[in-house]
Amino acid sequence: MKPRHKRAALVLGVLSIVGLAAALVLNAFNSNLVFFYTPTQIEAKEAPVGRTFRVGGLVQPGSVVREGVTVRFVVTDTVKSVPVSYEGVLPDLFKEGKGVVAQGQLGADGHFAAREVLAKHDENYMPPEAADALQRADKMRAKMQGTLSPAPTPANGAQK
């Protein structure tokens, strides 16, 4: 091979490696994106059945039931709610009435089986997805009632 050809082969080789790697990366990216839905969206059947996604909102007070290692609770955005079940140890800051994000799959019966439960990190902080769900619910309620009065939910916990 002449040097010119060698260089061309090298450039081609590098380009094909990078191209192949990029294609694989993007493919993995596409098939592993986890979308987020609010309980209202789930109620409206916007969320996919049989694919992993996240749901966020508040843990409905009084809804937490323990049966050994399994725990059941209800996630609400104050307008709609979705029943969730989870097996295992909950995060330290999981509390009734506080923000929560659950990742898992929705069953055909409308029951959300969580593989992972995320709560806030400290006193002042709410998971952004949970805050988002509450804000959207607020907006919707305001629209439905035709008023602009702010709802009494602690959506300000989202900041800071």
Partner: protein
């Protein structure tokens, strides 16, 4: 008074940083030796000022000065002294001060150990570092002053986030920052070389030990952070692909690529343009990491209070630094030249592929970290990219990289031939596959992906063995026994071997723990027991314990195997008094072969506990691998080649040699 003193010291430091950033640079352009001579003294002075300011803030913490807003937000009168000192960098403002202090320490080190470098070059390097410091000092003073007063003073502080009250947390941020900030030195070297237009092997030789040093700290910081998360967060995982972790991992990937491409630039004069670009990218990613972590765009333990001004300031700073560097790069780089030619099958090519793979890995992390933020900022919905994506991508990219790690070091520069390489390496391949199958069989289950990963780990070690044997074999013209020949091995090379061995240990640990770990969440009562991975865990009792600033429920759990008591573990569930946060304090029985990991979940109404019991084979090899990698780095930096003055001045380009000797 002391906080005000700290404030004044920071203002003075800013003034000195500006002098250090402007005058030597201008002096280097105009050939004014007196202006250039300002670089070193101002670097020392700036460091002293920032150090004093840091001492002021520390003293405010030690003396419980709750009239300082930052102290009131991050400390409490009950907080033990070591954590009060760690709290200095426990929040946004203080961590920035630490950032600047680290930058100053690096700058002073450069000023101190650069006596053999040409004056013009040193002046430019220190000036670039001065400008970076000025940017950060300005950022601190404008948006995040750690000395802001709180009037009237708080009666008591809000306490340090309980998650940060851990010995690992005392050491982790300083180490990580040393690494982050350390890449500013390679960056300054690259910019100085671009301005001066002398990107040669000498430049690469000067840059190498500094880059490796930064990389060592970053490796240590990341490893320590991972170890801390494993022990403190109570979930038993060691890496979460959290955006904040990714923020530190991206500079590491690019920094690793930089170390390898610097080797080519030094030895063969090739890859110059790419090396400079990598140096710029490594530092830019450090800044991006700071931006991600400190601007509040991320929500995480590490992301402190949100203030849009802060995000905007760092973003502008980021754009300025990256923009100016790339502008300079595009102006200067075309004149650099391509360096030596090399064959298709050569060490150069293998290092080129190594760099491509590391760059793609970094790009993949960048995509997974930034894309969700981007979508969110555009109001296009919230998505998350979790471990499955990163795990898939990293398996795909790391496999060829590890494969290459076994071949590359044995390849010859310039040109090699396939048949010879295959002959030299065939037994290593057979050995690696055999050992991997044997290990999988011994572990009880053969999973193809895991056996593959184990084979790659063994492959690296086996091919290294081949390399070592070949180099120790007696050759014509060389006297002395094996020991003598071993002494003659360059430290940089031995360092490389050890670092690669670290990667192999790391890969081994990851493969073993991922495949063979056992995790069970069980309900436990006093005197009940459960069995996990052949170990029997018996909960003896749960009692209340008082800590300095928390109360805890402490379980006493006996671990036995075949009726023999192995360990007594005391996991805790703590409630910190001030922030009334529950915290899980896991208990771990650790040895080289496995960890037994117990963490308390929650107490049920009838007094039972949900307990997570985990068996993690070979998990410590992950961090052991990191330590070994660092050891390799340390050995490589200590290579005499980087320090001997004679070789340096002999190789200086004509015209600079005179300035080089001082």
């Amino acid at each position: 008074m002391i906080p005000e003193l700290g404030q004044v010291l920071l203002l003075l430091a800013l003034a000195v940083a500006l002098i250090q950033g402007v005058l030597p640079l201008a002096g280097a352009q105009r050939g004014r030796a007196d202006w250039m001579a300002l670089a070193r003294p101002s670097a020392y002075l700036q460091c002293l000022l920032v150090l004093a300011a840091f001492a002021c803030l520390t003293s405010a913490f030690v003396r419980h000065d709750f009239s300082v807003l930052y102290v009131a937000s991050n400390s409490n009168s009950l907080l033990p002294l070591p954590y009060r000192i760690a709290a200095v960098w426990g929040g946004h403002e203080g961590s920035l001060l630490l950032w600047v202090l680290m930058l100053n320490v690096w700058t002073v080190a450069v000023a101190r150990f650069s006596r053999s470098l040409p004056n013009v070059f040193v002046a430019r390097i220190l000036a670039v570092l001065g400008l970076v410091a000025a940017g950060f000092l300005l950022f601190m003073l404008v948006t995040s002053n750690p000395f802001d007063r709180l009037l009237p003073a708080a009666a008591d502080g809000r306490d340090l986030n309980p998650l940060l009250q851990d010995p690992g947390m005392v050491a982790h941020p300083p180490m990580l920052y040393m690494g982050y900030v350390g890449f500013s030195v390679a960056y300054a070297f690259a910019i100085a070389a671009l301005i001066g237009g002398n990107l040669d092997a000498t430049w690469a030789r000067w840059t190498r030990p500094w880059t490796t040093a930064a990389w060592i700290f970053l490796t240590f910081g990341i490893g320590l952070g991972s170890w801390w998360a494993y022990n403190e967060l109570g979930w038993g995982g060691w890496w979460f692909w959290d955006p904040v972790e990714n923020a530190s991992f991206m500079p590491w990937l690019v920094g690793t690529a930089l170390i390898h491409s610097l080797a080519v630039t030094e030895k063969r004069g090739s890859f110059k343009v790419w090396t400079v670009l990598l140096a710029i990218m490594a530092f830019s990613l450090s800044l991006l990491g700071t931006f991600l972590v400190r601007s509040g765009v991320l929500s995480s333990v590490h992301a402190f209070a949100t203030d849009p001004r802060r995000g905007l300031f760092i973003l502008i700073f980021l754009v300025l630094v990256i923009g100016a560097s790339l502008l300079l790069f595009s102006w200067r780089a075309p004149s650099v030249g391509l360096g030596q030619r090399f064959g298709l099958l050569s060490k150069e090519t293998s290092l080129l592929v190594n760099n491509m793979l590391l760059a793609v890995a970094c790009g993949a992390v960048l995509l997974g970290t930034l894309y969700p933020l981007f979508l969110d900022a555009m109001g296009m919905g919230k998505i998350s990219v979790g471990p499955p994506y990163f795990d898939t991508v990293f398996t795909l990219i790391m496999a060829p990289l590890l494969m290459l790690m076994g071949i590359g070091p044995l390849m010859r520069w310039k040109e090699d031939e396939l048949s010879g390489l295959a002959r030299r390496l065939r037994w290593a391949l057979v050995l690696a596959i055999g050992a991997a199958l044997l290990t999988s069989w011994a572990a009880g289950r053969i999973a193809p992906a895991t056996t593959g990963a184990l084979a790659l780990a063994y492959w690296i070690i086996a091919s290294m063995g081949v390399d070592l044997l070949e180099r120790l074999r007696p050759r014509g013209g060389m006297s002395g026994g094996v020991v003598g020949r071993m002494r003659l091995l360059p430290r940089a090379m031995v360092g490389m071997w050890i670092a690669h061995l670290g990667v192999a240990l790391f890969a081994f640990g990851v493969a073993m723990v991922k495949t063979y770990e056992t995790e069970r969440d069980v309900k436990m009562t006093a005197d009940a027991s459960t069995e996990v991975a052949g170990y029997r865990f018996r909960m003896v009792s749960v009692s209340d314990v008082q800590g300095p600033n928390y109360v805890a429920a402490q379980a006493l759990i006996e671990v036995s195997r075949d009726g023999q008591l192995l360990a007594t573990l005391r996991p805790e569930k703590r409630i910190y008094k001030v922030q009334s946060n529950p915290m899980t304090e896991a208990a771990v029985d650790s040895n080289l072969l496995r960890d037994l990991y117990i963490s308390m979940g929650e107490r049920l109404d009838n007094g039972d506990w949900i307990v997570r019991v985990q068996h993690k084979p070979f998990i410590n090899w992950i961090w052991l691998g990191c330590l070994v990698m660092m050891g390799g780095g340390l050995l490589a930096t200590s290579d005499r080649r980087y320090r001997s003055r004679q070789t340096r001045s002999a190789e200086l380009p004509a015209g600079m040699a005179g300035e080089g000797t001082r």
